[in-house]
């Protein structure tokens, strides 16, 4: 049209140069811009990024960032707390929540296993469709045809008005080959996308949820306690290596040492008694409200020290601190004996 040529009267060569300039300039600007920092700048923005990765446990797929439910609010508060502490990474904070609420609060589907399908299938579909389009139009893209190209069926290369079906079987093969290639390529790219974008956090962290190794050691020690006293003592010892003021470890290690020493001869028993009293005394000093230490002190003073009066005093203090059931049971069964010894 004359209007067109009047407006933009560039020669083809000039046009090519102009396009080259535009494309190069665009590329430069994009690279420059892509390199700029886009991460969170404030603490709140970091909290927002993290909460966008966690699903609200009582909603339909809303993230904790979006949801106004009370569970979401509680999780937001927890995330804010941990971000404020500044110790954990984003992944660790998300893992903390996932370890409590289960994997279903991970908002990003995994990149492996059956969940990866949600990434792979769309990519496969896109690649296959694009492949089909390319193949269909590669074979017939210059000038005249009637027996190639897409017709109203939106499907294969079936001739229409000319009615010719020449080489229809032969036409199928390139299409099938292309479909196969596209499928493979699609799956490959899809898996790449899944790996790249999918959830990388393991379903459960290595310790099975609770990362605090001290708590884990204490738990193991307690489990071992009655049957395998030696291992229990070792485990409590390990806790004390990293945390010398750990009241539970101090108390129970001392108690178990005393228990096992009772089976040996007098000299070992006296030694054990001394160290036990020291350890228990230290535990009480560190945490006066801790009932177990006071109770064990009372029991040991009576059983191994023979001092009924002090024992009675300690046991009274122990009961006042509301000991847990097992220890209370021990104390109560001892009470009568202590009273008898005191002549009550």
């Amino acid at each position: 049209m004359t209007t067109a040529s009047r407006r933009m009267s560039l020669t083809p060569a000039a046009r090519r140069i102009a396009w080259a300039v535009v494309l190069v300039a665009t590329l430069v600007l994009l690279v420059f811009g892509a390199g700029r920092n886009t991460g969170p700048l404030t603490q709140q923005e970091r909290i927002d990024v993290i909460t966008k990765r966690i699903a609200c446990p009582t909603c339909d797929g809303e993230s904790v960032f979006v949801s106004r439910a009370s569970a979401a609010q509680a999780i937001r508060a927890e995330v804010a707390r941990q971000v404020g502490d500044g110790v954990k990474t984003d992944d660790e904070i998300v893992a903390y929540v996932a370890d409590r609420f289960g994997g279903q609060v991970l908002l990003v589907p995994r990149g492996s296993g059956i969940e990866a399908l949600v990434w792979v299938l769309p990519v496969v579909l896109a690649v296959v469709l694009v492949g089909v389009l390319i193949v269909l139009f590669r074979r017939g893209n210059r000038g005249n045809r009637g027996n190639r190209g897409i017709d109203g069926e939106g499907g294969g290369p079936i001739s229409a008005s000319t009615g010719t079906t020449d080489g229809a079987p032969a036409n199928r093969r390139p299409l099938v080959i292309t479909l196969a290639i596209a499928l493979v390529v699609g799956i490959g790219v899809g898996v790449l996308v899944a790996r790249q974008s999918g959830q990388r956090l393991p379903l459960q962290t290595a310790t099975g949820g609770i990362e605090d190794s001290t708590a884990s050691l204490l738990a193991q020690a307690r489990l071992a306690g009655p049957t395998d006293v030696k291992s229990a003592i070792d485990l409590y010892g390990r806790v004390l290596e990293t945390d010398p003021d750990n009241v539970e470890a101090l108390t129970y290690r001392a108690w178990l040492i005393m228990l096992s020493a009772r089976q040996f001869d007098e000299s070992l028993r006296t030694q054990a008694y001394a160290s036990t009293i020291t350890a228990l005394g230290r535990a009480i000093e560190l945490d006066p409200a801790y009932p177990d230490a006071m109770c064990f002190l009372g029991i040991v003073v009576f059983r191994d020290g023979g001092d009924a009066a002090s024992a009675s005093e300690f046991l009274d203090k122990c009961i006042a601190r509301q000991p847990p059931a097992e220890v209370r049971g021990l104390v109560e069964s001892l009470r009568a004996e202590v009273d008898a010894a005191l002549g009550k």
């Binding site: 927890e78 409590r100 609770i210 738990a219």
Partner: protein, 180 residues
């Protein structure tokens, strides 16, 4: 066959598969619900009661501990309360009984006090500021009841309201399992 028909068949098959998937549904009938914490050491909880007494969960090792997450306006919580009272009293009466605690979820101290004055139940009620305890256990909706064994391991999680005898039966089962 013509590609369009293949396409149509494929779409139809996928749709039918979707329908079939939805028709297959299996109910869950266990009392206990799932949680990543089951069989793991309970989270470290340090808080205060609504009477400002300190509370540390780790210090309760040696007793069975029952946590009940509660809110005074939640209808199932109100409904299950009498069963909880019966259970707590039963446990208090026996030696080696479980310790029962209410964890207050998103509610005011005054409302809790009023509720318990009106409906009974004189065990400790624990404050949960900002829902930290709820998040530590993964509690999304009240009521939930958790049972922790004397070694500090989480043993049972019950979602929703309990009825009479449920907690007693579960405690008996767990105690037996511990002794065997």
């Amino acid at each position: 066959m013509k590609p369009a028909r293949i396409g149509a068949l494929a779409v139809g098959f996928v749709m039918l598969a979707l329908v079939a998937v939805l028709v297959v549904s299996d109910g869950d009938t266990d009392v206990g619900a799932r949680s990543p914490l089951l069989g793991q050491p309970a989270p470290a909880i340090e808080t205060t009661t609504i009477d400002d007494q300190p509370f540390t969960l780790a210090r309760r090792k040696g007793s069975w501990v029952v946590f009940n997450f509660f809110n005074s306006t939640c209808v199932p919580c109100i409904a299950e309360h009498p069963s909880l009272v019966k259970f707590a009293e039963g446990e208090r009466a026996r030696p080696g009984g479980a310790e029962f605690y209410t964890v207050v979820n998103d509610d005011a101290d005054a409302a809790i006090r009023d509720f318990f004055v009106a409906n009974g139940g004189d065990w400790s009620k624990l404050r949960d500021t900002d829902g930290a305890i709820a998040v530590a256990f993964g509690v999304a909706k009240v009521p939930e009841t958790w049972i922790i064994d004397p070694n500090g391991f989480v043993r049972l999680r019950i979602l929703g309201a309990v009825t009479d005898g449920v907690l007693e039966a579960q405690m008996a089962r767990l105690r037996e399992g511990a002794n065997s």
